[in-house]
């Protein structure tokens, strides 16, 4: 199925389901029949369906549809749960501590989900454009290798050129850059000025170098760019994985509160 067709189908089902539930809620409200019980149970069911996506990921060996299909269901069911939430809560702000906390948790889960969806649509293309695609787990080791390599090049340059110009420059400007991930936030927002400033300093050094030193400095510049890509990959992939640190813990917390809320509502209604 083509992506556009899949999206249209998903949106159509979402809109129809939302409309149907809104109408049922409207009919129940108009007839003083406790619509919150219906919309609450529906919302709980959808939330449990959404959590099954995580369970599905832990059971990769079972033939339970493709993960991408689950992802699509998760996205549209997530949007549907937000619709159900607003049908359930209505045009008012929750009052009690339990319900206010639950509402904040739900909105936190929903907002983090939407943010995650946006990140998963926006970051990968930027990472592809950035340069070599790297496995996230390998980035620390690669950064260490690059750091080691640039240090070797700089040390060798002293013997080769009988000059400490590059070594001094490395010591002053480049060692902190290679020692750890840098400019992470700038990479996240697509702000390249910090690294360009560093490269311009490298370029400014060029006039004081002889041809041999210039050749060595070219190697160093390549390693600066490689380190920049490493930082970019770390920032981007870290973001791709980091939003789940908000989304999933909030979900667990929300489920606890939702179960208590649901049980009380069922018993007291």
């Amino acid at each position: 199925m083509m992506f556009s067709t899949r999206r249209r189908l998903g949106l159509a089902v979402l809109i129809l389901a939302s409309l149907a539930f809104w109408l049922v809620d409207h009919a129940l409200t108009a007839n003083l029949r406790r619509p919150a019980i219906f919309s609450g149970l529906s919302l709980m069911t959808v939330v449990l369906l959404l959590t099954l996506f995580n369970a599905r990921k832990k059971l990769p060996f079972l033939p339970l549809l493709r993960a991408s299909t689950w992802m699509q269901v998760h996205i549209y069911a997530g949007i549907f749960s937000v619709v159900l939430f607003f049908i359930h809560v209505g045009p008012k702000v929750p009052h009690g501590w339990l319900e206010s906390t639950l509402a904040v948790l739900f909105l936190g889960v929903a907002v983090s989900g939407f943010v995650g969806l946006g990140i998963s649509r926006w970051v990968p293309s930027r990472l592809t454009l950035s340069g070599e695609n790297l496995i996230f787990e390998r980035i620390p080791a690669l950064r260490s290798a690059v750091s080691q390599e640039v240090e070797n090049v700089v040390i060798d340059s002293v013997g080769q050129t009988n000059s400490s110009t590059i070594a001094d420059f490395y010591e002053k400007k480049l060692r902190p850059y290679f020692a750890e991930p840098r400019f992470i936030f700038s990479h996240l927002v697509g702000y390249q000025k910090p690294v360009l400033r560093l490269l311009s300093e490298v370029e400014a050094l060029d006039r004081y170098l002889n041809p041999e030193e210039k050749a060595i400095m070219t190697q160093v510049t390549e390693l600066i760019r490689a380190k920049n890509n490493l930082d970019m990959q770390l920032a981007g992939q870290g973001l791709l994985k980091g939003w789940l640190f908000v989304h999933i813990p909030l979900t667990y917390s929300m489920i606890v509160f939702a179960v208590v809320h649901g049980a009380l509502a069922w018993l007291v209604h």
Binding site: R33, P94, H95, E99, R138, K241, F245, F257, V268
Partner: protein, 708 residues
């Protein structure tokens, strides 16, 4: 030239396992071992390879990704020569995420358990929201409204009480009638009748899509039989500013068999004859407007508009009558005081004429005024009836003519004698004992205790001197005769006493006896042997209280006498002319309507209307904008509802036509003036006092409802 940092050949790079909980502590430095930590996070590194013996030689088996076989090779004993230093394994990213999730779950669960174990915190935390301002004082704990939610929340689940709101608790403070949980607080039978009355009606407008959808889940199929808890409509826990009475038109119609979209679109038309009850005060607007107010003699005193006689009540809701002095007195006060009337006074006690020729000897009645010719008034009969012997004698006599009794009819002679001595005894007792004697006799005859107000009113403060004066000349030896009759049983022979001569005419002009009491009071005419009462004018207490006491004859001990008395005081020509304007009902209950309709704060009708809010909107026609005078061919139509003997209040012929729904809908429509159901309709209907008064006892302990 672009540099590629990653190697994907199995000989050049290790296989990554991001799902594992622990990773090698030296991964960051690029020197992570291939074995990696175990599931518990312990480092398992020993040597870089496990040498393999081939023939008599040990060969290095270090992986290609780690650099392949090392140049030093295995030791002679087959051990690897390159020992890997132990590391401190690190948690993987997924593991941290799992820990964060578990932590969030645990913290949430701990918070919930903490709250469930604490009564006060549990109540505060689990409350779904603040109570409305009107219930704020009850919000100290959940069990105030939910009987099952007593104590800490953990106990709720093990308790036996129902956890839901109990509407019966609402009734501790709110009174909405005897059937509070029925729709409209009405009995099932009444609801069924109301439903049947509208089943044939079809709404004139189309249902909106919204209402059509809502009707799919309508309650109307079982509406008459169902019970509705207070919380169905009154939603709590929505904050201090929430109005508990908030309800939509669709919600109002959820039980209704015939639904419509709005007041201006489908609301049933108002009834053409809205006044199902005749007016309490008999006032024919038609004849007054057409004839009396235009009459030259009355015109100066006549009202000039509706508001000359009508005014809004204190709440501005109903229109009420202004006081008598403003409305009727200018034209009718003299009539009521008896000006020009044939019958000005009312005979309270009058002496009848007895047959003196038959009542002789052992049937003697002693001294008796020769000129006594009064009929036995109902008042006298009532007073005599207090004595069982006299009551029996009056029964024997029936309607017999006391002045002509056959000598051979000894039973009637004896009865007449008993009645005569009863009258003399009555006068003697009242003269000697005064008002107490009257009250005792009336209490016995009416069959119930009289209130102070009633005692004062029905005796009109009569004194023994008045009675003595009225009958002294007819009974010169009253005391001796009555004592002898009562103590010795000696009935003195009949002796007719001539009336004293009338005073000679003098230069001083003496006014007639009834004129001498122009302001009202007791009097007696010369030689008439009748004690009379002249009403003091409008709202005379003597007349009104006697009418009140006898309107329902079944509530008296002597219905026949009470009925005659009522006819005497409420007759068309009776002094005071009370019944000329004050209608008398026997349906729905017995009452004399002394006032026009007054707002009843206990009455909660389906429909309400605030007159004062609309007065400023009227132009030109004023009240007649809505209340148009009926044009009827029969000029007596109005009066027919009040003809003698017609005491059913619900047989009515109003002077006015009904208010039309279109006149209201001209303003009350969407985006103009409120037109929702509760603008004009009440839900809780019936007669009840909404608020229940509570008071602490004088001992300061009890705080219990006083009245419901």
């Amino acid at each position: 030239m672009k540099r590629w940092l990653q190697q994907f050949s199995f000989k050049k790079s290790a296989y990554e396992r991001p799902n594992q909980t622990w990773v090698c502590g030296r991964t960051c430095s690029g020197a992570g071992c291939l074995v990696g930590p175990d599931a518990q996070g312990n480092c398992r590194a020993t040597t870089e390879c496990r040498p393999l013996r081939k023939g008599d030689r040990w060969q290095c088996t270090r992986a290609a990704s780690q650099g392949g076989p090392c140049p030093d090779g295995p030791l002679p004993d087959g051990a690897c020569c390159r020992t890997i230093p132990k590391c401190i394994p690190l948690r993987g990213l997924r593991s941290w995420r799992g820990l964060a999730s578990l932590g969030a779950f645990a913290v949430s669960l701990a918070l919930i358990l903490f709250v469930f174990g604490s009564s006060r915190r549990g109540n505060n935390f689990l409350s779904p929201g603040g109570l409305s301002a009107s219930h704020a004082f009850t919000g100290s704990k959940c069990s105030d409204c939910h009987p099952g939610l007593e104590g800490p929340p953990a106990r709720w689940l093990t308790g036996t009480n129902h956890l839901a709101t109990d509407g019966r608790l609402c009734l501790d403070c709110h009174n909405v009638g005897s059937e509070p949980f029925r729709p409209h607080a009405l009995p099932e039978e009444t609801l069924k009748l109301l439903t049947e009355a509208v089943l044939g009606r079809k709404p004139t407008g189309k249902l909106t899509a919204s209402l059509a959808v809502a009707s799919l889940a309508s309650r109307r199929h079982d509406s008459a039989a169902q019970q509705l808890d207070c919380a169905v409509c009154h939603q709590e826990h929505l904050g201090a500013n929430h109005d508990l009475r908030t309800i939509t038109d669709m919600q109002c119609q959820s039980c209704h068999s015939v639904q419509f979209s709005g007041f201006a679109a489908g609301h049933p038309p108002f009834p053409k004859e809205p006044f199902t009850r005749r007016t309490r005060i008999i006032f024919d607007h038609d004849s007054h407007l057409k004839h009396h107010f235009t009459d030259a003699a009355s015109a100066p005193s006549a009202p000039t508009s509706c508001v000359s006689c009508h005014e809004p009540d204190l709440k501005g809701a109903s229109m009420t009558l202004k006081p008598y002095e403003v409305t009727c007195a200018p034209c009718h006060d003299d009539q009521i005081k008896g000006k020009g009337a044939v019958k000005i006074g009312l005979t309270f006690i009058g002496l009848p004429r007895f047959d003196d020729r038959s009542l002789t000897g052992k049937f003697g009645i002693g001294q008796w005024p020769e000129d006594a010719e009064q009929p036995m008034t109902p008042f006298l009969r009532l007073l005599l009836a207090a004595d069982p012997k006299v009551l029996s004698a009056m029964g024997t006599l029936g309607e017999a003519d006391l002045s002509d009794i056959s000598k051979t009819d000894t039973a009637k002679l004896a009865a007449a004698q008993t009645v005569a001595w009863g009258i003399k005894g009555l006068i003697f007792d009242v003269v000697t004992r005064g008002q107490d004697e009257l009250i005792e006799r009336l209490t016995k005859s009416l069959g119930r205790q009289l209130t102070s107000h009633e005692q004062e009113s029905i005796t009109a403060f009569i004194t023994s001197d008045v009675i003595r004066t009225a009958f002294a000349s007819g009974f010169p030896r009253l005391q001796d005769e009555v004592i002898n009759y009562r103590t010795k049983g000696e009935a003195a022979d009949t002796e007719l006493m001539p009336s004293p001569p009338l005073a000679k005419a003098t230069a001083v002009k003496t006014a007639p006896p009834d004129v001498r009491v122009n302001l009202g009071g007791w009097y007696s005419a010369d030689a008439s042997f009748a004690l009379k009462y002249r009403p003091r004018g409008h709202a005379d207490r003597f007349l009104t209280e006697w009418m009140n006491l006898t309107v329902d004859t079944n509530k008296t001990a002597l219905p026949a006498v009470a009925g005659a008395l009522f006819d005497e005081v409420a007759g068309a020509k009776a002094p005071g002319l009370c019944a000329k304007c004050h209608s008398i009902d026997s349906k729905p209950d017995f009452r004399v309507n002394w006032t026009g309709r007054r707002p009843d704060r206990m009455e909660h009708k389906f429909t309400r209307f605030a007159h004062s809010a609309h007065v400023s909107l009227l132009e030109g026609q004023g009240c007649q904008t809505c209340h148009s005078l009926k044009v009827t061919a029969d000029p007596d139509a109005f009066a027919s509802a009040y003809k003698p003997g017609q005491r059913d209040a619900f047989i009515a012929h109003s002077n006015f036509g009904g208010v039309t729904q279109t006149s209201c809908a001209s303003c009350h429509q969407p985006a103009f003036v409120r037109a929702d159901c509760t603008t004009c309709h009440n839900y809780h209907v019936g007669r009840f006092q909404s608020s229940i008064l509570k008071s602490a006892g004088f001992d300061g302990k009890a705080l219990a409802p006083v009245a419901k």
